[in-house]
Amino acid sequence: MISRLRHKPIAVVAVGYLALIVIASLLAPLIAPYGADEQDLQHVLAGPSAQHLLGTGVLGRDVLSRMLYGGKITILGSLIAGGLFVAVGVPLGLLAGYLGGWAERLVLRLADLIYSVPVIIILLVVVAIFPNNETAAMIALGLLGAPGLARIVRSTTKGLREELYVRAAQVSGLRAITIMRRHILPRLAGTIIVQLSLFSAGAVLLETGLGFLGVGSRQASWGGLVAEASQNLGSQPWLLVPSGFLVITFVLALGLLGDSVRDAVAAQYGAEEARTRRPNNNTTQPATVDSPHRTDALLSVRGLSVEFGNVPAISAVDLDLMPGEALGILGESGCGKTVTALSILGLLRGGGHIVNGSVRFDGIDLVGADPTQLRAIRGGRIGWISQEPIIGLDPSFTVGSQLAEAVRAHTACSRRQARRRAIELLALVALPANTARSYPHQLSGGMAQRVGIASALAADPVMLIADEPTTALDVTVQAEILDLLRDLQRSGLAIILVTHDWGVLSDICQRAVVMYAGHVVEQASVADLVRCPRHPYTAGLIACDPHNATPGEPLPTIEGTVLESGNWPVGCRFQDRCGLVRPDCRAAPVELVELESDRLTRCLHHLELNDLVRQ
């Protein structure tokens, strides 16, 4: 983490500035031009001059010198408070988090208690009892802040205890202390530093506040400088500037340091490092003469290409959906199937944009369509179901109100009519009417997905795009949802089903396209895909499905791993994993070729496939 911080300019500047102030304050007796209380009655309340760089106060005392001497008090005070803050807060928090039970409850109650009083009042009480005793006040401050740190340390520790790598370490027999040292403390260090810098910032403000109120130390202090300024606003308002500047920049540096540490920790433990995405140097698309859109298709996609930034995600995707049919898009993760589905409706996120191609629906091209037209089609003509049913619903509204909202988005009707339609929709998906009053978090996965389907059908669309609708569900619930989709299809709804599961594909879809590395590699009826595939990837995928396996014999596998987008080679993208690869596969991009009607493949040597499969 230190190395990460070294690369952040803000962190470096902040640490440097703080160090500068600390050193200057320590060296005050050596470098200050005047004594802290040295009076110069010739130059009272003077502005900046050659003799007094930052001006003078009401008794002619040099401001710069008082700033230098005053630093010691504030810095010492913050150290005391910060030291206690960590020394008491961390062990309390660790105990509470790791042991749980009564230790945890005690710490939480204590933190609640302390948080309920404005700290400054308690500090005033302490200062009233120990007059002008900064140390006492700072000790009190540290102790008052510790439970807050304990609370944060506790919740981090508690979360970390549940991490799988901690459980694995427990199974491997590591002692609790060792686990804490290896897995929990390193992560905590970042949190503690962040909280400490925030706390120190607040401590400096409170300490100078006490000085300003005149109840802090009697020696020269930053707060005292502000107090002096406040008493002379009419005659020398300039005094506000140096005192304020110092406090503000010091606290700012502490705060920025804390922020930088927080970012550095988050980057270290956060999601995977973004893999280096080199722009694809192969910019030539396969030279398909864009075959014309099928006029009898409900939805017709030609040459669809999508990029994120300038990294391609899908290239030259073609597919057709006939009225009333269920078309599958099958592939493994990263193949671009979800990107394809999202881009049909123009719903790409995270910097994705369509760079080429057209999507014909209802006589218009959805790519580049007018936003009002697009909004009318979304939900109104084309419905969408997402993979995670509960997360796809707004947690703050009831099921009924969300269904009614979906109805009213496309149909002009009163609230009562919309409510009635919502109940009808619930009946359509075999849910009882009182589901309308439930909130999403009260639903099971299966119920939530039914609600999702009902919501997608609210405006009576003619087709549905379902993105892995059953992946998150148990297999018995999945069967029910698939039955429901099939019934809907029988009554005329066309479906595009995105999935990775051959079983689901076989259950619902008549035809399917198989995608690999952003390309459509094969298109056929599902029966043909399964019985006699015409692309090595499809064949390989079917072969390694455990359904087709013989227990005791090794599963046939596809060698190697999927290439990252952006690293796609010239030529066939499957070349490094294919058993049939030849020089011509690597030489030039491979086109999608029509074998028979409705049967496409992107393989030059598909005729040799039978031999491979038989092996």
Binding site: S116, L124, A128, I129, P237, V251, S386, E388
Partner: protein, 312 residues
């Protein structure tokens, strides 16, 4: 809802008692004792003994506390050492001032914070950076210093608002308002920073969620998505931040009332500190705790109103 209030009451009572015990114990650490403070150094030993008896200073500590608590529950918080007036009387007169100040500052902080936060999340760019800078400055700029700057600019250099002093509402509503403008802005600006930051983070976070994608896929208007759905969900954690900000504002009131010479509880706390007037400070601590605990209840109720997972 009723369960929530009950749970809060069960938690609040030990809280208030705890604070009173804390201050009582701290007060008992004072070198010397109250009797000597009242009578002075050259007191007659007999008078001294009698007063000690009268003030029950010879009883064990917890008995003294019990007596204090008993009287406190009847509204008798003892006598101020400095003024010899009943503490309760002193506090009552000043409560309205502090409440006006904190209420006004809360309003400013909330409106400014929510407005800036939402605007910067939706517009981004310069406004976003503005909010980031404001959050950092809100953390770093001392409220008392900011108040002094405002006074210099808007009261001394250009006499728009009164520099100090307070006019009760009953006497003149307009002047009451004028006397509060600068202090309220001082406190409110600082308080708006964490609210703006949380609101902005919240809105940006919600926009990334799956349900927003689904709502767009349903063809629901973008304006509806933002103002009906996103804002509602982003507001929930803001409620907790608001609670913390209000607690901070009560503390900031101490400093603001000193800068602007407002006759509120905060200013009284400072003079009591200089005068070692423990009974007054005790009373203020208890009152502040009650106020803060009350605020916490309202925040919890607000949170429950926004978040159905807590209600059901």
């Amino acid at each position: 809802m009723r369960r929530l209030v009950l749970r809060w009451l069960i938690a609040a009572i030990p809280l208030v008692l705890g604070v009173s015990v804390l201050t009582f114990v701290l007060a008992s650490l004072v070198p010397g004792d109250a009797a000597r403070t009242i009578l002075g150094v050259n007191a007659n030993p007999q008078q001294y003994a009698a007063l000690r008896d009268q003030l029950r200073l010879n009883d064990p500590l917890w008995t003294q506390y019990g007596h204090w608590l008993g009287r406190a529950l009847h509204g008798d918080l003892g006598l101020s050492i400095q003024s010899a007036d009943p503490v309760g009387h002193e506090l009552k007169g000043r409560l309205a001032v502090t409440l006006s100040l904190v209420a006004g500052a809360t309003l400013v902080a909330a409106v400014l914070g929510v407005g800036l936060g939402v605007a910067s999340a939706l517009r981004g760019g310069i406004l976003g950076r503005c909010v980031d800078t404001l959050s950092l400055l809100g953390l770093a700029v001392p409220s008392y210093w900011l108040g002094l700057v405002l006074v210099t600019l808007l009261a001394v250099k250009a006499p728009i608002f009164p520099a100090t002093g307070y006019v009760p509402f009953g006497q003149s509503p307009v002047q009451w308002l004028e006397s509060l403008v600068l202090p309220v802005i001082t406190l409110g600006l600082g308080g708006s920073a964490p609210i703006a930051k949380q609101m902005r983070d919240g809105v940006l976070g919600e926009l990334d969620r799956d349900y927003v994608l689904v709502l767009r896929a349903r063809g629901i208007a973008e304006r509806s998505i933002i103002f009906k759905h996103v804002l509602r969900n982003a507001a929930t954690p803001v409620a907790s931040v608001l609670g913390l900000v209000i607690i901070g504002l009560f503390g900031g009131a101490v400093l603001a009332e000193t800068v602007f010479v407002l006759p509120g509880l905060g200013g009284l706390a400072v003079t009591a500190t200089s005068g070692h007037d423990i009974p007054v400070l005790q009373g203020i601590a208890v009152v502040f705790t009650l106020l803060v605990v009350g605020v916490n209840l309202i925040v919890e109720l607000g949170y429950a109103a926004l978040n159905p997972k807590v209600r059901t």
